[in-house]
């Protein structure tokens, strides 16, 4: 019962914030609403017994990506002018497309008999995930560091003035 109340509170927070991201007329409001959506998702992760992933989400998304997005919003002018900052086009067709996609997916979710294992007692996941990263998943782990290095250098090259002149 308690878990259900927590789930619906988190779901309301997440969906409400995501709706604000989608429909707000002001890009600054959208950005701060994204904070609520990401925090709601952190709660959902904890509810799903994924403590390590929840903390990674908190550090990377809320601490990194969101701050970066806020910086980018503040650095690009015309924020105060709603027409410029957050113009939307084709809202009707977009809602129709997303609605049709949602109905098809809802049908698939409801029709499918998902395999469900027996309930288990949640335990801290950090130890097992660390072992997996240095065992079965060591190759993707190393490739991920290469991807991050390439993204780092690429971002510096793309955004620096001198290189493009």
């Amino acid at each position: 019962m308690l878990a259900q109340v927590i789930f619906y509170a988190l779901a309301a927070l997440t969906v409400g914030s995501a709706a604000l991201v989608a429909f707000s007329r002001n890009i600054v409001y959208s950005t701060f609403a994204l904070l609520g959506a990401l925090m709601g998702v952190v709660g959902i992760y904890i509810l799903l017994a994924a403590d390590f992933v929840a903390m990674v989400q908190l550090l990377v998304y809320v601490g990194g990506i969101l701050v970066l997005t806020i910086f980018a919003v503040m650095l690009t002018a015309g924020i105060a002018d709603v027409k410029v900052s957050n113009r939307t086009v084709g809202t009707g067709p977009a809602i129709v497309v997303a609605g049709v996609a949602a109905i098809v997916m809802l049908y698939a979710v409801m029709r499918t008999q998902w395999h469900q294992a027996a309930a288990f007692t949640p335990a801290p996941t950090t130890y097992a995930i660390g072992n997996a990263f240095l065992g079965d998943y060591v190759l993707p782990f190393e490739v991920a560091s290469l991807v991050l290095l390439a993204a780092l250098i690429g971002a510096i090259v793309i955004s620096s003035h001198e290189v493009r002149e």
């Binding site: 994924a50 957050n86 997303a98 991807v147 971002a155």
Partner: protein
């Protein structure tokens, strides 16, 4: 999760977030707004990964995939925002309709 939350609840939640992210991507003309929609979509995929990992018996593979998705989302946001800043320096706007130099 004895509280009566089922796998379907999480899948429907993720579906709603995905749809809102799709609407954001389709309607925004602000490049940063489009990137925020992409973040919502990636988060909905992550909820699915973790829900299947939880209801599939507590294996860790789903959580590891979610961590990789978060990592790629960070790389995508960095590159995307760098491109947006470069577009802003060239066109003095981040309206994606304004950057049409390549249009034939």
């Amino acid at each position: 999760m004895g509280g009566g939350i089922t796998l379907n609840d999480f899948l429907v939640l993720s579906l709603i977030i995905f749809s809102l992210g799709l609407v954001t991507v389709l309607t925004r003309r602000n490049a940063i707004g489009i990137l925020m929609g992409v973040e919502l979509i990636l988060n909905s995929a992550n909820i699915n990964y973790l829900a299947f990992a939880y209801y599939g018996g507590g294996k860790y593979d789903g959580q590891i995939f979610a961590i990789f998705v978060i990592m790629l989302a960070a790389a995508e946001a960095v590159i995307g925002l760098a491109v947006v800043l470069a577009i802003y320096q060239n066109f003095k706007t981040i309206d994606v309709d304004a950057a049409e130099t390549l249009r034939g």
